[in-house]
């Protein structure tokens, strides 16, 4: 129900704070507004009761034993609503910093590099071909798949590192330039290392030797 604008003047009228024309206008209004008149009557009764018995109503009662558990009102009244809003905003900002910003400052996961003499215990990376002596320079090197999103680094050696390359496939073609470096009768070896998406070494194959048979 829409509030009558004269409602706000009810207390002023009943407490004799309205005077002159303002009072006449208000009185004329409640002669024409049954809703306001009803409110005036109800309010007048309350005021009359308070005026006649106020001393008894508002007499202070003896202090009760203090409650050990503070009421919600006591806690709430520590701050004003504006101060509570500031506290809430500060708490929210703290949570954002702890869970959102700080993790970004962590150092990246360390990457491990194995020397030839080191062994990684974990998943097995098996080499498929070439693993035995071959009649010609191998066109491809092939190995087993370790999982999804793995990057493989192949290294081919004679006495020293001859060629290295990286692929996400389980097979790689030997470049022509490297083929030209390989000759019959020579012994070679190759090894594959597997890295996760984040660059962590997850597996190393054994080092397999092969020889290109000499031409007869």
């Amino acid at each position: 129900m829409k509030k009558c604008p004269f409602e706000e003047q009810i207390d002023s009228y009943l407490l004799n704070r309205l005077e002159g024309e303002e009072k006449e206008i208000f009185e004329e209004h409640y002669f024409n507004c049954p809703a306001c008149f009803q409110k005036i009557q109800a309010r007048d009764e309350v005021i009359a009761a308070i005026k006649s018995r106020g001393a008894w109503i508002f007499k202070e009662e003896p202090a009760r034993r203090k409650n050990l558990v503070p009421s919600f009102e006591k806690v709430y009244s520590v701050f004003t609503p504006r101060q509570w809003a500031t506290v809430a905003a500060a708490a929210a900002l703290l949570l954002v910093v702890i869970f959102g910003v700080l993790p970004q400052w962590r150092k990246p996961t360390p990457q491990f590099f194995l020397g030839d003499h080191e062994v990684v215990r974990g998943k097995t990376l098996s080499l498929i071909s070439p693993i035995i002596d071959v009649r010609a320079v191998p066109a491809y090197f092939e190995w087993t798949k370790l999982g999804d999103n793995i990057e493989y680094r192949i290294s081919v050696y004679n006495e020293k590192l001859l060629w290295t390359a990286t692929t996400k496939e389980t097979r790689i073609a030997l470049p022509e330039a490297v083929k030209k470096l390989m000759t019959a009768g020579q012994k070679y070896s190759w090894q594959v290392r597997a890295f996760s998406e984040k660059g962590t070494l997850v597996a190393v194959s054994s080092r397999v030797h092969f020889q290109i048979k000499p031409v007869e």
Binding site: F31, F37, I40, S52, G54, I57, F58
Partner: protein
């Protein structure tokens, strides 16, 4: 050409029923219930309203409420002037309160007072400061450390609670 002036139709019985409480309230507020004359003045006003409407003096230029208010205000002013004049010459003894009216009001006030006493302290506080001690809304707000708007909200809510508590 004759123009016949149309008079608004007024249901006098309805007017009496509807406006007697309003006139009574205004009269009691103006001259006090301790004066035994107040009921007579209310009767005079209602009688005057009926007579004027029958004579066609209510032409509908204002509302019936305003018409009755004007008659009421004038009668109260006349009464006060008369009383003031008389009192200057012959001071009269203090009037005795109407015992029946007092008893009814006293009982009502007792019921309300008990209900107010049961309210939570935050509501009693505002009722005490605003109605009993008659502080302004702003002063009440300052003393309680709350906004004036909060004072009004508590006063309104206290009244609602009291209406619920004393409902038969």
């Amino acid at each position: 050409m004759n123009f016949v002036e149309k008079r608004p139709v007024v249901d006098l019985d309805e007017v009496v029923v509807k406006y007697r409480p309003v006139v009574s309230f205004k009269v009691k507020k103006s001259i006090g219930t301790q004066t035994p004359d107040w009921e007579d003045i209310v009767d005079e006003i209602i009688t005057q309203v009926i007579e004027k409407v029958k004579k066609g003096e209510f032409r509908g230029e204002s509302s019936i409420g305003t018409f009755i208010y004007t008659i009421t205000s004038r009668r109260i002013v006349d009464y006060i002037r008369q009383k003031t004049k008389v009192l200057k010459e012959i001071p009269e003894p203090a009037p005795l309160p109407d015992p029946c009216l007092s008893t009814e009001n006293r009982e009502r006030a007792r019921i309300l007072a008990e209900a107010i006493k049961q309210l939570k302290p935050k509501f009693k506080e505002v009722l005490n400061l605003y109605y009993y001690q008659e502080l302004s809304r702003e002063e009440v707000a300052r003393r309680l450390g709350i906004s004036p708007r909060r004072v009004s909200e508590r006063l309104n809510y206290a009244q609602k609670l009291l209406r619920k508590m004393i409902r038969p």
